[in-house]
């Protein structure tokens, strides 16, 4: 309003002549004037519109000026109010000022007096408005800060990494919920030296690292075993919080649970060394034979040489199979297998696999019991993969069978699964071996198996294949009597094909 004209002024006076005179003077000066004929009208106008300035007669017949002042002030505290009075006295002036009047004008007044007073009133009004604006701004920014704090706290509390802040007196200044969990404690009081409330190893570490951070003034990470036997391992990252002058204000510690990561790392390195060992064994045997044959002084007979060459060939062949199996496993792990899924008649594939093993079956004089000629079960798989799976199972059933034994292959289906069973009457498995059956490179070793060769990857591949189809594999076995593998493929209704 101040911007539009010099100012909006409300004149409250019951004397019409005075109002008109004042109005004229003020309008000439560039003010906009609104007249109120009495106290009630003054209150009504003054509380509906915010005027820059109100000139209020102290003595009016209906409501006196003080009342009008109070009402206007109540609604618009920044309206500058002047009281006009003919009975100026020290007391009235004091009272009006006490009640919040910004000044008083003595009646009668000259136009100059009026204008001077009002101009100073308008300056005051401007100051009041500016003060108001600044106050509002400050309140808003305080609100923003408070909001920001709450937000930060929420963020820090919702992250799964633990956060601990230690002040320069080495006292706990802040922590989040995840920190409690990771440090395996239920409660941490703030403001307590860190050495007092953390588990002893952690406390020592914090205290020790605190000085390191102080010296280095840069972040670093360490691994801490919180619970023994690799049950809980944390990576703790210590970072300095520096003051503006570069001095250390505290240290923030971020705790990350790396237990699972460490576990996988261990499995990986164990697997790598296992692979290395398995790959090296056939190489070592082959080189061993070749070295012997290269030494004339060992006097190897022709017959023996042929035997060694055949065995070397066999070992290298198994090495090749192993490498291929490993590549298959890796492809399956990386989900890089491209499958051509189509309907396959289980019994037909079984017959195909049986054909592959005619010679081996004869060698051991094994009987193969296949599903009846009328049986027909359909599953949706990649045919090659399914063939591979059955080949591995039948090959095992032959290798681990006894002479003159039998292999039973059956297929049946219920509402959920197509179930294929491959059962042998062979040497069976010890209970402790059964648990490790599907692990890479595991091969049951006992008095019966010493002349049975294999990579120890076959069943691991079978398991991966069946799992790729959301199926399952089970093994039932009695040591010395035989083993049965039962694989179940989820049924996919034919009409969906």
């Amino acid at each position: 309003m101040v911007e539009d004209c010099k100012g909006h002024i409300l004149v409250v006076d019951d004397e019409e002549a005075l109002r008109t005179a004042v109005r004229r003077i003020l309008e000439m000066e560039g003010f906009e004037v609104k007249e109120a004929h009495n106290g009630s009208e003054g209150i009504s106008f003054g509380t509906t519109t915010e005027y820059d300035l109100a000139l209020i007669d102290l003595k009016m017949p209906d409501r006196n000026g003080i009342e009008v002042l109070k009402e206007i002030r109540h609604t618009f505290p920044n309206t500058v109010c002047f009281m006009a009075t003919a009975y100026a006295s020290y007391e009235t002036a004091v009272e009006a000022t006490k009640l919040g009047a910004d000044g008083y004008i003595l009646k009668p007044f000259s136009p100059d007096e009026l204008i001077n007073q009002l101009n100073s009133g308008i300056r005051k009004r401007k100051l009041l408005l500016e003060t108001e604006r600044l106050k509002k701004e400050r309140e808003e920014s305080l609100l923003e800060v408070a909001f920001e704090r709450t937000r930060l706290k929420t963020i820090i509390n919702s992250i799964t990494d633990g956060v601990i802040v230690i002040n320069k007196k080495e006292e706990l200044a802040y922590f989040n919920q995840a920190a409690l969990k990771l440090l395996d404690v239920t409660y941490l009081p703030l403001g307590i030296p860190v050495t007092e409330h953390f588990p002893i190893e952690v406390a020592q570490l914090l205290s020790e690292k605190f000085f390191e951070v102080e010296e280095q003034q840069s972040s670093f990470s360490i691994e801490v075993e919180i619970k023994p036997n690799n049950e809980l391992i944390l990576e703790a990252t210590f970072s300095p919080i520096l003051q503006a002058d570069g001095k250390l204000a505290g240290v923030v510690v971020v705790l990350k649970n790396i237990t699972e990561f460490k576990r996988l790392e261990l499995i990986k390195s164990q697997f790598v060394s296992m692979v290395a060992h398995e790959l090296k064994a056939p190489i070592a045997a082959s080189i061993g034979f070749i070295d012997i044959m290269r030494k004339p002084e060992l006097n190897i007979s022709q017959e023996q040489q042929i035997d060694f060459l055949n065995r070397t060939h066999g070992r290298l062949q198994s090495l090749l199979t192993m490498v291929n199996d490993l590549l298959d496993i890796s492809r399956m792990e990386l989900n890089k297998v491209t499958r051509e899924i189509k309907e396959v008649i289980v019994e037909e594939t079984i017959a195909e696999v049986a054909g592959l093993f005619t010679v081996e079956l004869q060698k051991k004089d094994l009987t193969l019991s296949l599903p009846g000629p009328d049986e027909k079960h359909i599953i949706k798989v990649d045919q090659n993969e399914f063939l591979r799976l059955l080949t591995n199972l039948v090959s095992n059933a032959i290798k681990y069978n006894k002479e003159h034994g039998t292999i039973y292959i059956t297929v049946k289906a219920d509402a959920y699964y197509t179930v294929i069973s491959v059962r042998d009457t062979g040497i069976g498995l010890r209970p402790e071996d059964k648990d490790r059956l599907f692990s890479e490179f595991f091969r049951a070793k006992n008095e019966f198996t010493k002349n049975i060769h294999g990579t120890g990857l076959g069943l691991s591949i079978v398991k991966r294949i069946i799992e790729a189809y959301s199926g399952k594999i089970e093994c039932q076995s009695t040591y010395g009597e035989g083993t049965e593998f039962i694989i179940s493929f989820p049924v996919i209704p034919i009409e969906q094909a």
Partner: protein, 122 residues
């Protein structure tokens, strides 16, 4: 004539080693698992034991060596290692493994003989 017991679960290694040692004039007995190995050692009391570190289980050979030493059997032991180098495990330092010598696979006939003859006269 000196008697050597060779214990390794790899039949080919077992035969190749035996052949090399016999050609050099040693008498050889063998076993392809730690239990049988222990038995032949107790029965025949060989002059030297050659032991593969990994048999059915990793460290099978290591445990058998420990068992023999606990029983105060002081017969020299040569241990066949397979992936010691690959895994960064340094078998040759420290006294953790109670054996006298190591031979890394693949076994070279000359190295085997040289190491055996550190302990045995033909």
């Amino acid at each position: 004539m000196s008697l050597i017991a060779v214990i390794d679960d790899d039949q080919d290694i077992l035969e190749a080693s035996s052949l090399i040692l016999r050609a050099r004039g040693f008498e050889v007995i063998s076993a392809n698992n730690p239990d049988d190995g222990y038995k032949i050692i107790k029965e025949k009391n060989p002059d030297l034991i050659i032991l593969d570190v990994i048999m059915n289980e990793p460290d099978d050979g290591f445990f058998l060596a420990q068992k023999l030493r606990r029983e105060k059997i002081a017969t020299p032991i040569i241990m066949y290692t397979s992936i010691a180098k690959a895994t960064g495990l340094d078998f040759t330092s420290g006294n953790m493994i109670p054996v006298d010598e190591f031979v890394e696979k693949p076994i070279s006939p000359d190295e085997l003989i040289a190491k055996v003859e550190k302990f045995l006269k033909r």
